[in-house]
């Protein structure tokens, strides 16, 4: 079985963000980057499926500029077998549909039996790319997957529902699963894994090599456009309490007792 895991590199969720001059993106210099949280769980799930089978291949794929190579290397260090990095400029800046077209081309070329992704990226957070991939491939998909069991030609999949309920279903393969954070504990990367990652191949196919034309991918292939980004409007009701920790703590406790009367 061949599993394609599509991951995204995103800024550290705790990073302070600064808008760039165009005000449609952020300044990327000085940012710490990491593999998107739910994507790490997708990698873990793929590796567990391969280990459970005792055979198979896990290919980690990412659309992103040169810096995204580090995310692919993290996947390889966890245990993925090969990498595919869609690094050419034509791939960059796409909306989820443009990204999905590129991922579909990789899935077809790789003859993947299963495509795994996270559910939602901590940057633009469209939370729809895996389903668009499934739609284009005409494969079934499950969003918010919190459990997977391999069966003969099928998958037994648990999906998270609102309020802590769960749906258990059977889905034929091939399929696309969007993996929810927390499905399994994500393994720590070993030093051995990091060393091995350096020797694992990472392809960088051009759009032509994947049979993609320029108007299907990147900005030309996108219909969703961001006109402007801005900090959210403050509701303005939060009263910030100033001072050193001891002072602020004292003032806060006073307010909670005398003003809000909740203590």
């Amino acid at each position: 079985m061949k599993i394609l895991v599509a991951i995204k590199q995103v800024p550290d969720p705790d990073a302070r963000l600064v808008l760039d001059e165009s005000r449609t993106g952020i300044v990327e210099t000085d940012l710490q980057w990491e593999v998107n949280e739910s994507d790490r769980y997708a990698l873990e799930t793929a590796l567990r499926i391969r280990e459970g089978q005792g055979s198979g291949e896990v290919v980690v794929c990412s659309v992103g500029p040169e810096r995204a190579r580090k995310a692919i290397t993290s996947g390889l260090a966890m245990g993925c077998d090969r990498g595919v990095h869609l690094v050419a400029p034509e791939y960059q800046g796409g909306d989820p549909l443009a990204i999905a077209r590129a991922l579909v081309a990789v899935a077809k070329k790789e003859e993947a039996d299963l495509v795994l992704t996270g559910t939602r990226s901590d940057d633009l957070g469209w939370a729809e790319t895996p389903l668009l991939v499934a739609g284009l491939l005409d494969w079934p998909a499950v969003f918010l997957t919190i459990g997977v069991e391999l069966q003969d030609g099928a998958l037994k999949v648990t999906r998270e529902l609102e309020g802590g309920r769960k749906e258990v279903s059977e889905v034929p393969r091939p399929a696309v699963l969007a993996i929810q954070s927390g499905i399994y504990p994500v393994r720590y990367t070993s030093l051995k894994g990091i060393m091995a990652a350096k020797r694992k191949p990472v392809d960088q196919p051009t759009p032509a090599e994947l049979g993609l034309s320029g108007d299907e991918i990147g900005r030309p292939g996108s219909r969703l456009k961001i006109l402007e980004m801005a900090p959210p409007e403050k509701k303005g009701q939060c009263e910030f309490i100033e001072g050193d920790p001891a002072e602020a703590a004292k003032k806060l406790v006073e307010k909670l007792r005398l003003e809000a009367k909740v203590l």
């Binding site: 969720p13 705790d14 949280e37 769980y41 909306d95 989820p96 549909l97 999905a100 940057d123 957070g125 939370a127 729809e128 389903l131 499934a134 739609g135 079934p140 499950v142 969003f143 918010l144 999906r159 529902l161 609102e162 309020g163 802590g164 309920r165 769960k166 258990v168 279903s169 059977e170 889905v171 034929p172 954070s181 927390g182 219909r223 969703l224 456009k225 961001i226 006109l227 402007e228 980004m229 801005a230 900090p231 959210p232 403050k234 509701k235 009701q237 939060c238 009263e239 910030f240 309490i241 920790p245 001891a246 602020a248 004292k250 806060l252 406790v253 909670l256 809000a260 909740v262 203590l263």
Partner: protein, 329 residues
Amino acid sequence: MSKDVLVVVEHEDGKARRASLEALALARRMAEHLGGRVCAAVLGQGVEAVANEVAGRGADEVFLLEHELLATYTPDAYRLPLVELVKDGGFEWVLAGNTYQAQDFLPLVAIAFGAPVVSDVVDVELGDQVVFHRGVFNGKLVAKTVDEGPAPRFASLQSGAFPADELPEGHGGTVTRKDVALSPEQVRRKVLEVLSAGDQAVDLTAAEIIVSGGRGLGDKETFESLVGGLARVLGAAVGASRPVVDNEWLPHEHQVGSSGQTVQPKLYVALAISGAIQHVIGMRGSQVVVAVNRDKDAPIFNEATYGIVGDVKEVVPALIQAIEEAKAQ
């Protein structure tokens, strides 16, 4: 070209879900702006009452799509008749609440028309273009977004973003029954069972005070000493945001948010929680909210009554001391 707006209505226990009524509220604004009608689609089995409800709450025409294969939700059974309906109806926009269910099927409908979804919308500007606002980077920024493609276009709306309070009662919309052709082999996902949440070992919904911690606490030990320590002096229950549970610092029963519990305490203290919408949905009903976070731009401060910008490792011990001193008085 029709200028109609279609809302895909979800229902539970024979009633339209709140998220769908909120979508109906936005659909009314958009249809008025575009000069079209408000339409709705209700899919299920034995759901005529839902269709009537929606026709009364402001939809001009409700399409009722009933079939035995729609008795249980599956993405294929929803997708196939919806694609037919959207083809026939020629809608300008198709809207749905951004629920777990919509996330599971709406992009599959959109892609049948070569379209993506403008997802998780929090606001709209209706001018020459329809400009949607979306929270990005976990709510730290808002992106004004347009779909430059042809109709039909698709959008999903964040829960609570468009209040449903002003929907009319007794609106005289019509209900049109549509034939649905579905065969079992078209439904690729076979639902085996739905597991209820069961009795929560930890019931946060009755707590008067909750101290919650987030990823920013760094590790399990720090979480226990700071969140646990403050909860002890306040006599509070302990809550957590999703990453804490995912990292197994605490069991799932303590999770507050869309996939955990929805709480309404008198006092909610959020320690090192950034304030992602999935968490905020679960604690918005709190009477007083205190947030402590290093990042003054963290979205949690938008929900807070009182905020302290600082390191929880310094602020929380000081808070514990201040509370003990106040108690001693």
